[in-house]
């Protein structure tokens, strides 16, 4: 019975989330070729592609997009790996691990707003140093943020993605026998760093492919971060396309659809190129693996890596702090190191204003995380039962489809989905909203839970079944309690993913649902940093609270079980 139930999970999960994306894509592709009867456009034409491809801003915008997406992916991968390799088993790593949940909980936009308030020419750093150290009565005219080369956008994206890559790498490393590999390397005279490079990295990269795909695709399609720290003349391609979708000239939505399709093409090409580069790197570096070289010239990286982890945590902390200070400020000009006058009014007002969005966000997030967890655990457990019968089975072939929502730029299918939902009278419906969040929660849950789940030693379950006989009991009394830590952790992650959804809430909710994120985005439009501080901090604190719970619950449950403690 349980088995038959499980068999339905992959099909249901895939169908529920893939079909809409496909419909949504069609709803974008038709207008891209000139078909949108609602606007009286009914003839298929290439004109909108021509408009797109000859638009003066598009080449540079596409360059900004590629620089920031590729640069941030490579940087965050490099940062995460050096950091882990050089701090493995050290106190720094333990420290980093503990702060990881706080870092993962950071909403992108809040982080970027904090970074700008910190690093802008009139940011906190320069305020603290002026005029005493710098002599500046006015802020300098050079700027570290919003540079016209998209470099600051790349760094902010990288800073934001590094904790996610670290998190995914830690999960992947559990599948590799890192300790033994390193020991083996040491006994052969390799430095630890070399052992990482030669032994672990080649096994690790294929395992990190999917998370890196998600990061790369996110970098191509991100809009909010690009608006806050990105270049402005022109902006990135995603921002340009987003503008066309909002353009007062309604007909711009047609080239906008073509632009959204171009974004998708760029994403797919990028992912393909990444896959090729990964293969190429493995092929080309293979001859060097047994070159016999024991030490690495790159050993000097150790210190910068520690610096990097400090920078990572430090920047998040500083961005957090500057938002806190702004949220209590009444007047704060340049070059005062601290506000001239303080007030509680923005918190008082914000609190009353945010109550409804707070509860809606909480319930929607929890519901999405829990439903997502059930679906994902069901799928993974189904895989386990199949593997028991057919050793070597690696999961249904078409299952990668579940990642499609992470990879397809949201702008490319949300308009289509909106039309379909209105068609079925499902827009502005809480269940539809929940479902749209699940579309993004499920793949992230799958991404982060599949490692620990697939790694679970099946012998525990078999033993339990031998002793008791029931599959359900074996799962609920042995396996899931033993997996409580990752289960709690990914639930928190799912919550954070749901909380961060802006465009889906906007498009599917028909303006009927105000979440912390939609409220923050709309208040950010007014640029009042004191209010933005209050909203962004609330949007940050809620997932942090959930993450803390996800850490505390297993710790409390396992307080009498030494074997289950975190090493």
């Amino acid at each position: 019975m349980l088995r038959r139930c499980l068999a339905a999970f992959p099909a249901v999960t895939a169908a529920v989330f893939i079909v809409p994306v496909v419909i949504g894509l069609i709803g974008t592709w038709l207008p891209a070729f000139g078909y949108l009867p609602a606007l009286g456009a009914e003839r298929l034409t290439w004109a909108h592609w021509e408009y797109l491809l000859t638009h003066p801003s598009v080449p540079t915008a596409a360059r900004h997009t590629l620089i920031s997406a590729w640069g941030s992916t490579l940087l965050s991968l490099l940062a995460a790996l050096t950091l882990l390799a050089l701090t493995w088993r050290s106190r720094t790593l333990r420290w980093l691990r503990r702060s990881l949940s706080g870092l993962l909980a950071i909403p992108h936009a809040a982080f970027a707003i904090g970074i700008v308030a910190l690093l802008a020419p009139s940011g906190w750093l320069i305020k603290l140093a002026s005029p005493a150290l710098t002599g500046w009565e006015l802020p300098p005219i050079f700027s570290l943020v919003r540079d016209p080369w998209a470099i600051s956008l790349m760094f902010v994206l990288a800073l934001k993605e590094t904790p996610f890559i670290i998190f995914m790498t830690l999960a992947a490393l559990q599948q590799l026998q890192v300790g033994r590999s390193l020991q083996m390397g040491r006994s052969l005279g390799y430095t630890e760093f070399m052992a990482w490079r030669r032994i672990i990295l080649p096994q690790l990269l294929p395992l990190l492919r999917l998370p890196l795909f998600a990061v790369l695709a996110y970098g191509v399609s991100v809009v909010d971060l690009a608006l806050i720290v990105g270049p402005s003349a022109p902006s990135t391609l995603a921002v340009l396309v987003d503008r066309w979708f909002n353009h007062p000239d309604i007909l711009r939505r047609l080239p906008g659809s073509a632009g959204a399709t171009l974004l998708l093409v760029l994403t797919v090409l990028s992912l393909g190129l990444w896959w090729l580069l990964e293969k190429l790197w493995l092929r080309l570096s293979r001859p060097h693996w047994d070159s016999g070289q024991r030490r690495s010239a790159l050993h000097w990286l150790a210190r910068p890596a520690e610096g990097l982890s400090l920078l990572l945590i430090g920047s998040a902390l500083a961005a957090f702090m500057v938002l806190v200070v702004w949220s209590f400020a009444f007047r704060w000009g340049f070059p005062d190191p601290l506000p001239q006058s303080w007030t509680l009014r923005f918190w008082e007002r914000g609190w009353t204003r945010l109550q409804q969005p707070f509860w809606l966000t909480l319930w929607t997030g929890l519901a999405a995380a829990v439903i997502g967890l059930v679906l994902v655990v069901g799928c993974l457990e189904h895989e386990v039962t199949l593997r028991r019968r057919r050793p070597g089975f690696t999961g249904p072939k078409l299952f990668w489809l579940i990642y499609v929502p992470l990879i397809v730029p949201q702008i490319a299918f949300l308009f289509g989905i909106q039309v379909v939902l209105v068609w079925f009278n499902l827009d502005g419906n809480w269940l539809a909203l929940l479902w749209s969040h699940l579309m993004f929660v499920v793949p992230y849950l799958f991404l982060s839970l599949s490692g620990p789940y697939r790694n679970f030693d099946d012998r525990y379950v078999r033993q339990a079944m031998l002793l008791h006989g029931g599959e359900w009991c074996a799962l609920s009394r042995v396996k899931w309690p033993m997996l409580l830590r990752p289960l709690c952790y990914v639930t928190a992650l799912g919550f954070a993913v749901s909380l961060a959804q802006y465009l889906p809430t906007l498009y599917v909710g028909s303006g009927r649902f105000a979440t912390l994120t939609t409220e923050t985005v709309s208040i950010a439009g007014g640029g009042d940093r004191r209010l933005v501080g209050v909203y962004a901090l609330t949007q940050w604190l809620l997932p942090m609270l959930i993450y803390s719970l996800a850490l505390l619950v297993p710790a409390w449950c396992f307080r009498h079980r030494r074997g289950m403690r975190l090493q």
Binding site: P56, S122, A233, P248, W423, G511, S522, I523, D528
Partner: protein, 411 residues
């Protein structure tokens, strides 16, 4: 037994709704357009109005909360402020609804709109109406002195949207940092050259940026009348715009970030003015600065000015989408928002500071008093200073400006 009881309950329910049923029966055959105002107010009772309006400003959000309370008390209508980041999102939603064939029961009942968005919705038949001349407060509008009440960015309003507030391009500066003010675009260039890196304007196609560029366009020509004709009727539009691009080339050379980066919009410029990153900011609301001083957003030394040759002025409106679920209630809400009481409160700089659309001299003594009681803000301008208003150029120039601006400065 239970069946009977159910039937009785149902009967009572029907009885309770008798007045409503009666009015429904009476009005069922009649389209909304034929209802007298009182009947329309009755029909609107109990309806819910989803008002889609920009939600970036706390004073504005607070004002709408007050309005929602009043409207609930007086008309038994629930006013929900749907905070939007961009009116384009609302247009998209109405469009999606039309694409899906939902020609009634739409999700937007009232939308804060003007200019290009209005023109697009009107041209695409996405608006309900004409309806505004049915509002009792329509009579109080100041048509004589405010030509933009009937021409929204050169598009005839045709009673398809209700005037809500007045706007005029106004510059802000910090008097603690700036002594001599530019009085024209030409002087602005000199000012920028004397203060390199301290002058900028929002990137196009933000409508703040577009208005700045339009203002420059009107000032830099010998004969502005050409810009009030359709660009398609002008022989060589590019030649007319040449002085503008020369001016912007020179301005960008000394502008903030040397013209390689621009702020997103006016709210961002307000922050940059507060930070001293730039010396001049702009706004569409002459009282924006005063309100920002009171809320602590700007220092109390901030003042405003306009060019003595006049600056572009326009009006912002309320419109009802063609498929609104509650057009009656939306009209009642619009009528309330146009009432002397609501307009006076809106004009109060401690509340919001948005100038009124009403002809104050046509109001009753008491109502006039409401407006007289409003103090001019610390950064407010005299009525005389605000008298020189330039009309928006013809809408056909806007795409020319935007495209060429992007080709030159955003590539």
């Amino acid at each position: 037994m239970t069946k009977t009881r159910l039937r009785i309950i149902r009967m009572f329910k029907t009885l309770r709704h008798m007045p409503l049923v009666a009015s429904l029966v009476l009005t069922a055959g009649l389209p909304v357009a034929a209802l007298a105002w009182d009947d329309l107010e009755d029909a609107a009772r109990g309806q819910q109005v989803f008002f889609n309006a920009w939600g970036g400003s706390e004073p504005i959000n607070d004002y709408l909360l007050w309005a929602a309370d009043e409207i609930a008390d007086r008309y038994d209508i629930v006013l929900e402020h749907v905070k939007v980041g961009d009116t384009g999102d609302v247009v998209s939603r109405v469009l999606a609804e039309r694409a899906a064939g939902r020609d009634e029961g739409g999700s937007v009942d009232l939308v804060w709109i003007n200019g290009e968005n209005f023109r697009a919705m009107k041209e695409q038949d996405l608006l309900y109406g004409p309806w505004t001349d049915r509002l009792p407060h329509y009579e109080l509008l100041d048509f004589d002195n405010k030509p933009t009440l009937t021409m929204d960015f050169s598009t005839p309003v045709d009673n398809m949207e209700a005037p809500w507030g007045m706007a005029q391009l106004t510059f802000m500066y910090d008097s603690a940092r700036v002594d001599t003010l530019p009085d024209s675009m030409a002087e602005l260039l000199t000012f920028a050259q004397e203060n390199p890196g301290r002058v900028t304007y929002p990137a196009l196609p933000s409508f703040y940026g577009t208005t700045f560029v339009k203002q420059a366009m009107l000032e830099l020509t010998d004969d502005p009348s050409v810009f009030y004709e359709s660009a398609n009727a002008v022989e060589d539009p590019a030649a007319e715009l040449a002085p503008l691009w020369d001016f912007l080339d020179e301005l960008h050379a000394v502008a903030w970030q040397q013209g390689r980066a621009f702020p997103q919009d006016a709210p961002q410029m307000k922050q940059m003015l507060n930070d001293g990153e730039i010396l001049l900011s702009l706004s569409f609301n002459p009282n924006d600065a005063s309100n920002a001083i009171l809320t602590g957003e700007l220092p109390d030394t901030v003042r405003t000015y306009v060019h003595s040759g006049g600056t572009i002025g326009n009006t912002h409106f309320l419109a009802i989408p063609y498929n609104a679920s509650a057009p009656e209630a939306a009209m009642v809400v619009a009528n309330f928002l146009m009432s002397p009481e609501a307009q006076a409160r809106k004009a109060d700089i401690e509340i919001w500071g948005d100038p009124t659309v009403l002809a104050i001299d046509q109001l009753s003594r008491d109502e006039q008093q409401l407006f007289d009681d409003i103090e001019r803000g610390p950064a407010g301008l005299s009525d005389e200073a605000l008298e020189a208003v330039l009309l928006e150029p013809h809408a056909t120039w806007v795409p020319l400006l935007e495209d060429e601006w992007q080709r030159r400065y955003a590539r």
